[in-house]
């Protein structure tokens, strides 16, 4: 009875039930597979988070995003004239999150690789690229750098999936891939 003291005072010398032992071995093997899966994916998988990130400040990050937008804006979109930026393939691309938008709109080329820098100017935000479904946590003061290679063309939305205030649900960004 598990609500009574064990009948053998020296419980740690009890024998182990055969089925229990078999299950422990199976479960342990599976746990090891799960563990090895992560280093395995780093080597052979193509979807990994980079280890590259920097401490930054909202001002510093905003000025880098502004500089990129100034140089590579090709047109504007929506009635509030959000710049659509077409940076050269292989370049550093900046995306900033703030209440409640992702800025600017990016236009990337299919199967080209970019270094995407993301940070927040105010609170925590969630970068959620849809419908491709890549989800990253974005922290103010930290600049995340991921090397991405869009391999589908089309129009992608950047949804904010970390709660950031009452206008959170309007926080949408856009990435065009051509």
């Amino acid at each position: 009875m598990s609500i009574l003291p064990p009948s053998q005072k020296i419980w740690w010398k009890e024998p182990i039930h055969g089925i229990e032992m078999m299950w422990i071995i199976l479960a342990l093997i599976w746990c090891l597979v799960l563990f090895l899966w992560m280093p395995y994916w780093h080597v052979y998988g193509k979807q990994n988070l980079s280890n590259e990130s920097y401490k930054t400040s909202p001002e510093k990050f905003e000025s880098k995003a502004n500089a990129m937008a100034k140089e590579h804006t090709v047109r504007t979109d929506t009635k509030s004239n959000i710049p659509v930026v077409h940076p050269p393939a292989g370049s550093d691309v900046y995306l900033l999150g703030r209440m409640w938008q992702w800025w600017p709109i990016l236009e990337l080329e299919k199967n080209k690789t970019y270094r995407l820098h993301i940070s927040s100017l105010d609170w925590q935000h969630g970068f959620s690229l849809q419908p491709t479904n890549i989800n990253l946590q974005i922290l103010p003061g930290y600049e995340t750098v991921v090397t991405i290679t869009p391999d589908q063309s089309g129009e992608f939305a950047v949804v904010c999936n970390e709660f950031c205030g009452v206008g959170h649900h309007t926080m949408l960004g856009k990435i065009y891939v051509k």
Partner: protein, 576 residues
């Protein structure tokens, strides 16, 4: 002459000490109050996320969601766990509780703390969610309330440890503490660690909210906060697994197949769960992959192993006990002949199955560094923790309440038919909710989001129609679960007020934290708690074959689901 402070429950044979009993009752009742508050707001959240209803305004929705999470995940569960700690130390060991007066101080702090947090929420300026990530600010009384609540809970944990010491000194039992008490001890140890982490992060955050500190690093906050936030859910796991063993013993006279295995599994929780909270920051910048893999791997997978072991040994010990009673035909007669109409059993068993199959598997998938990329902060996450916490923990606590109302409160349960159906309604509703949230999350639907149609956003985006349909079905599941939850609260509160008194002399208030009529306490010192009878030792050659088959089905589902997600991951944009 020493006062007669113990009474023996004539139905269960358990001994209750007057002051421990009052503390248990007070904590359990407050827990149910918060379940009611949190559950009601949960219903509003579910009905808002149902796209066709979209009940609340954005502001009210975030307010309701903040209250729902905190009231359930912290207040309901921890109040109830304090009752479990008093039960596991005082009642199971037939011991007087250590410093009951200070126990009331702890209780009072928990009440004041939780009321402060609720006040902050209802004032409307603290809708910061359960996680309360900086730099988003809440009012100072929000953080202060959490700190006071935590101090109160900490006092409860130390009284639990003190009671174990007294029981040992006064030799109220023979041999080692029972497995259930051992499991509660692991819960208390994890709780102490958790609350310490909470203090490390909440005290500076409180000072920040008051303006004494001007910056809290968000990554540091997240790292330390999750040592609180995740480990606090592991207290629940240790607590509800202990209750599973208790139910198996109470209803079936089941004995653990091997004390060694079950206890070692509890020890693994203590050793390896804490840093498993690293899996909450798998998608964060500023932390290297090596650190993430290291901390999620050894810490998480050995804890997963422990849960997988309990997943076999709990039903396994029930099977062995049932087979010894003669339910020995085929693989599953023991299970078919189980008391499915008894909510103590059905609640516990449904909790165990859904916790393992849905909660456990999805938790591990989510904790895999790269797969997390397709899941992080989507509505998959609430899908996962409704299976673990809302079914695993809450339904287990509901099940044991059906046992405690007659035994602890000495009242008969009202509405036997409703009692019989309640675990199925609640468990079934939560199962639907969890499954469809998991599905919608896999399609990318964000969590904590008021309007996934983005109707007043500048840019536009549409989620797949399937995702919208799944949210609708999940909302229906949430509604059903709320019906089940409300039914539980009605039965529990109704039985305390209107249930037939089992001790005719008991006073009107004996149900509400106040002791029974003094005539009930007629034992000065209960006899020493003896060892479990030896004939119950071991499996006696009876093999838990049915359980093993179930365990293999579980493992197969686990493997298949894991690789489906890995396949899905491989289809997203290459990145690194």
């Amino acid at each position: 002459m020493a006062a007669k402070m113990f009474r023996q429950c004539p139905d269960s044979g358990l001994f209750f000490h007057k002051s421990a009993e009052s503390l248990m009752k007070a904590h359990a009742v407050l827990g149910v109050v918060y379940l009611l508050v949190g559950g009601f707001l949960g219903l509003l959240v579910a009905l808002t996320r149902m796209p066709s209803l979209h009940l609340l305004s954005a502001e009210d929705f975030y307010l309701a969601l903040s209250i729902h999470g905190t009231a359930i995940l912290i207040f309901w569960i921890i109040f109830f766990e304090m009752a479990v700690l008093y039960f596991a130390a005082s009642t199971l060991l037939r011991c007087r509780p250590a410093t009951p007066g200070i126990g009331w101080v702890g209780f009072l702090l928990m009440v004041i703390g939780s009321v402060l947090v609720m006040t902050a929420f209802f004032r409307g300026n603290s809708s910061v969610m359960f996680t309360s990530y900086v730099p988003m600010p809440a009012e100072p009384i929000f953080y202060l309330g959490l700190i006071l609540f935590a101090v109160g809970a900490l006092i409860g944990c130390f009284i639990f440890l003190g009671t174990l010491v007294i029981a040992r000194q006064e030799k109220t039992y023979d041999g080692s503490v029972p497995l259930v008490t051992f499991g509660a001890l692991t819960a208390a140890i994890i709780a102490i660690f958790t609350i310490a982490s909470g203090a490390v992060i909440l005290i500076p955050t409180w000072l920040w909210s008051l303006g004494f500190i001007n910056h809290i690093d968000p990554l540091m906050y997240r790292t330390v906060w999750w040592a609180l936030g995740h480990s606090s859910q592991q207290i629940n796991v240790a607590a509800h697994v202990s209750i599973w063993y208790a139910v198996a013993a109470i209803l079936f006279g089941a004995r653990p197949m091997s004390e060694k295995v079950s206890r070692t599994a509890f020890l693994l929780y203590i050793l390896f769960l804490q840093l498993a909270s690293a899996h909450h920051i798998l998608a964060d910048p500023g932390v290297s992959s090596t650190w993430k893999v290291f901390n999620t791997s050894y810490a998480m997978y050995l804890a997963v192993l422990a849960s997988m072991v309990h997943g076999l040994t709990v039903p396994g010990c029930i099977e062995v006990a049932q087979r010894k009673k003669g339910f020995n035909n085929g693989l599953f007669e023991w299970l078919k002949k189980a008391p499915w109409a008894n909510p103590v059993f059905s609640g516990m068993f449904i909790a165990m199955i859904i916790f393992g199959f849905i909660g456990g598997i999805t938790g591990v998938v989510m904790g895999t560094e790269q797969i997390n990329l397709i899941i992080h902060n989507t509505i998959f996450v609430p899908g996962h923790f409704h299976a673990t916490v809302a079914v695993g923990t809450t339904l287990t606590f509901m099940a044991i309440t059906y046992f405690l109302i007659p035994v602890l409160f000495r009242r008969e349960l009202i509405w036997p038919t409703a009692c019989k159906w309640q675990p199925y309604i609640f468990g079934g509703g939560m199962l639907i909710l969890s499954l469809f949230l998991l599905g919608a999350g896999t399609l990318g639907v964000p969590r904590r989001h008021w309007d996934i149609n983005f109707s007043d956003a500048l840019l536009q985006f549409q989620f797949a129609g399937t995702a919208i349909t799944m949210l609708g079905i999940a909302g229906f599941g949430g509604f059903l679960a709320a019906v089940g939850g409300a039914l539980f609260c009605l039965i529990a509160v109704g039985s305390l007020i209107f249930g037939k008194r089992l001790d005719p002399g008991a006073s009107l208030f004996s149900s509400f934290g106040f002791p029974m009529a003094s005539s009930c306490y007629n034992v000065e010192r209960p006899g020493k708690l003896g060892l479990a009878p030896v004939e119950q030792t071991g499996d006696g050659g009876v093999q838990a074959k049915g359980t093993f088959v179930l365990a293999l089905v579980f493992l197969a589902s686990f493997v298949v689901y894991f690789f489906i997600n890995a396949k899905y991951l491989s289809s997203i944009w290459p990145m690194g």
